[in-house]
């Protein structure tokens, strides 16, 4: 039987057989991941509380830091890589991310739009066409 190169299971480290994954290199991967995550977390808390930054930019900054930290988790704890044996795992993840963005983004835009149009007005409603 010819040699078969299988995809890697999600969460396994690519390129290494399962039994070889218990070595020191694995320990370093997790530790570096932890350090990066700690740095990003502390930075997030700082960003949320500091008055140094331009206030409207704070939520965007927090989102970027959160995405970065989720990436750290994916790469260092879940061993997601871009190798060809990881393609199925990445595609599934990408599909999930797409759906999450559509659900969240779509809902936020739609609900904001609806709330604005359908909110109760205390003053008489402007019935003229809005441009």
């Amino acid at each position: 039987m010819t040699e078969t190169r299988w995809d890697v299971a999600p969460g396994d480290r690519p390129g290494i057989s399962v039994s070889e994954q218990g070595t020191f290199s694995g320990f370093f991967v997790y530790t570096i991941g932890l350090l990066l995550a700690v740095i990003l977390t502390i930075t997030s808390f700082w960003v949320a509380n500091t008055s140094v930054l331009w206030t409207p930019g704070v939520p965007a900054g927090l989102v970027v830091l959160a995405i970065a930290q989720m990436g750290v988790h994916l790469v260092f704890f879940l061993h997601i890589t871009t190798g060809p044996d990881n393609t199925n795992n990445i595609l599934a993840l990408a599909f999930g991310v797409l759906i999450v963005l559509l659900v969240l983004g779509g809902s936020i835009v739609i609900m904001a739009n609806l709330n604005e149009n359908m909110a109760a007005h205390t003053e008489p409603m402007n019935l003229q066409m809005q441009h």
Binding site: G22, T23, A48, L62, M70, H73, A92, I99
Partner: protein
């Protein structure tokens, strides 16, 4: 497994394309299935997040997030959960090298940290309820308790699962079934920490930004 390989169209020494190699080994199948399930769980959380985003300002005259959220508690919860993810990773290393002591130690630390996270969260909820900030008070609070509570429920389920896995490990040793299930647990636990990153960012940190 019975695989018949045709002799006419595959050359010796050539790597078979993965997509044509036939049914994948069980570890891959089980892990991938659990990965897909986790993605469905994340979609469910995104629906709860969407609900929270729509209702975050609907405080109905009641308490707001900035009035209720205690950043120190959140920081400690985050630290506990992140460290438990780390200890879970170390547990995975021990499992891969079939080390019983490392596995039980990693599991124990993960459990304790996870339980510490849960107890802090339960205390936070209890404090809020005691001052009248109940989920029945406003839509914002309903959404908050549901989103954060759902995550906490997942943590609780995870902790129970961990205990059961340790019992099964003690009974059956590192059989393939046990290894696959432990691997699924670690996927679950890391995913929970990923969701928590979003929760502490969107709910708590953005909630206290004026």
């Amino acid at each position: 497994m019975n695989i018949a390989v045709g002799v006419d169209d595959v050359h010796e020494g050539e790597l078979v394309n993965t997509s044509e190699a036939g049914p994948a080994p069980k570890r891959i199948v089980v892990s991938y299935g659990f990965w897909i399930f986790l993605l469905s769980d994340i979609v469910m959380f995104s629906a709860l997040f969407a609900g929270y985003a729509a209702l975050a300002r609907a405080t109905a005259g009641g308490p707001t997030g900035s009035q209720l959220f205690n950043q120190q508690t959140v920081a400690m919860e985050t630290a506990f959960l992140l460290l438990s993810s780390y200890s879970c990773g170390l547990m995975s290393l021990a499992i891969n090298s079939r080390g019983y002591f490392g596995t039980f130690l990693g599991a124990g630390v993960t459990f304790l940290l996870g339980a510490a996270f849960l107890s802090l969260e339960l205390r936070e909820f209890a404090t809020m309820i005691a001052i009248g900030a109940t989920p029945q008070r406003s839509a914002f609070l309903s959404a908050f308790f549901t989103l954060v509570g759902c995550h906490g429920l997942h943590v609780a389920v995870g902790l129970s699962w961990l205990v059961l896995m340790m019992i099964q490990l003690a009974m059956r040793g590192f059989s393939p079934v046990v290894e696959r299930r432990l691997h699924c647990f670690s996927l679950f636990w890391h995913a929970l920490d990923i969701i928590w990153v979003l929760i502490f960012t969107v709910v708590y940190l953005m909630g206290v930004v004026p």
